[in-house]
Subunit: 227 residues, 2 copies
Amino acid sequence: MSFPNPQIKLTVDAIVFGYNEGKISILLIQRKYDPFKGQWAIPGGFVLENESLEEAVARELKEETGVSINYLEQLYTFGNVDRDPRGRVVSVAYFGLIHPEGHTLEATTDAEKAQWFDMETLPELSFDHKQIIDVAIERLRGKITYEPIGFELLETKFPFSNLEKLYTTLLGRPIDRRNFRKKINSLNILDELDEKISQGKGRPASLFRFNEKRYKQLQKEGIIFEI
Amino acid sequence: MSFPNPQIKLTVDAIVFGYNEGKISILLIQRKYDPFKGQWAIPGGFVLENESLEEAVARELKEETGVSINYLEQLYTFGNVDRDPRGRVVSVAYFGLIHPEGHTLEATTDAEKAQWFDMETLPELSFDHKQIIDVAIERLRGKITYEPIGFELLETKFPFSNLEKLYTTLLGRPIDRRNFRKKINSLNILDELDEKISQGKGRPASLFRFNEKRYKQLQKEGIIFEI
DNA sequence: TCAAAAGTGTTCCATTTACACCCATGT
DNA sequence: ACATGGGTGTAAATGGAACACTTTTGA
């Protein structure tokens, strides 16, 4: 068989989740060019010949939104024949988690604008991006129950109640405060700081910091988190 | 941005696991053409412009080994810049499970030959196929603990002990016969037949059949298997 | 009659769940 | 002083793990 040259193009897309005040949001860009000019889409673009998929997706995300993420996890590859009106385009989707306050969105040359959207009220999306996001949400929901990824969505210092609220939001159900605390404490992945924060009324809360070293050690030992 | 034409090619690869007499095996082909002519490789090939990824992988598998599988699950997409000496080739890997007795391997035009290899003693492999297989094995091991996929690896009728042996093999550790039986029975996914089979010496064993309808129902209800 | 594989229940332990009151602060 | 959110322990129930003997056949 000879080396073929089918007109199949390869893109990467980055589904980036953020969390703020009890809401999960997704980072979208407004398309500057046709097709779907002016519509919202997942940041992403064509893979260059001399870069890996991971490099491509980080580059595109940075170019289109100004956001840098060191770790994006591969989600799924979408390859339906007619998913792009320009021709045959296969897209490798990645997903990542950040806390939006730590990242400023930048107007860029590649996209009209970049903006966070509440997961519950997304605008109409280009291509098959709605489907891609659905897959990403499913994965996020699945993941949070066996990996304490929630921390990537919070600021570096946070009161325990923020973690709890994040989990109730992601799981879509209430969780028992005492049991949740017991479980998290038993993992020793939180360091309690000597700082307190007062959130409006009520007793001030201790601040915690995620102990990444301890977390990586647990991962190595194959210890499984379960909510 | 214009529609680019980078010289990136797209392939699909099929990692197919089989199980026979206490051994997990993987289906490989011997390459007929350069690069890696004469070496063993995972079946796969270039995606055509008018077929989906799933169609492509099923077609390539059929062409190169004679094996038809209706369900192949997407595993991971491998896109390192230098994974193929011919140039930039990105591969979407899929994996599937069959019972080898139900499928005859066919000599084909695309491959020198197709053959099952014991998972423990694989030959030297082309490209980054060793890495791909490692990822597939990891996924298989993970999957078996929360989904009763084992059934796809067995014949349609089988004694309970075969299922048990399969699990001990995949998990790499002994499991308690009574507890295992209790768990499987509690799921009601096995139908006991009015047939018995005598395997050499010893008391003959009842034959079971996997109740696919019941299994799909459980999946829908979100019930999680756990070994 | 012996060797080999199939089949079967109970007890113990660990983990998870359910559940309610006091504490510290702002208004 | 009251409203608001933070913080804590114990008891019951559930599910998982450990464990050994009887049954049926072939040799």
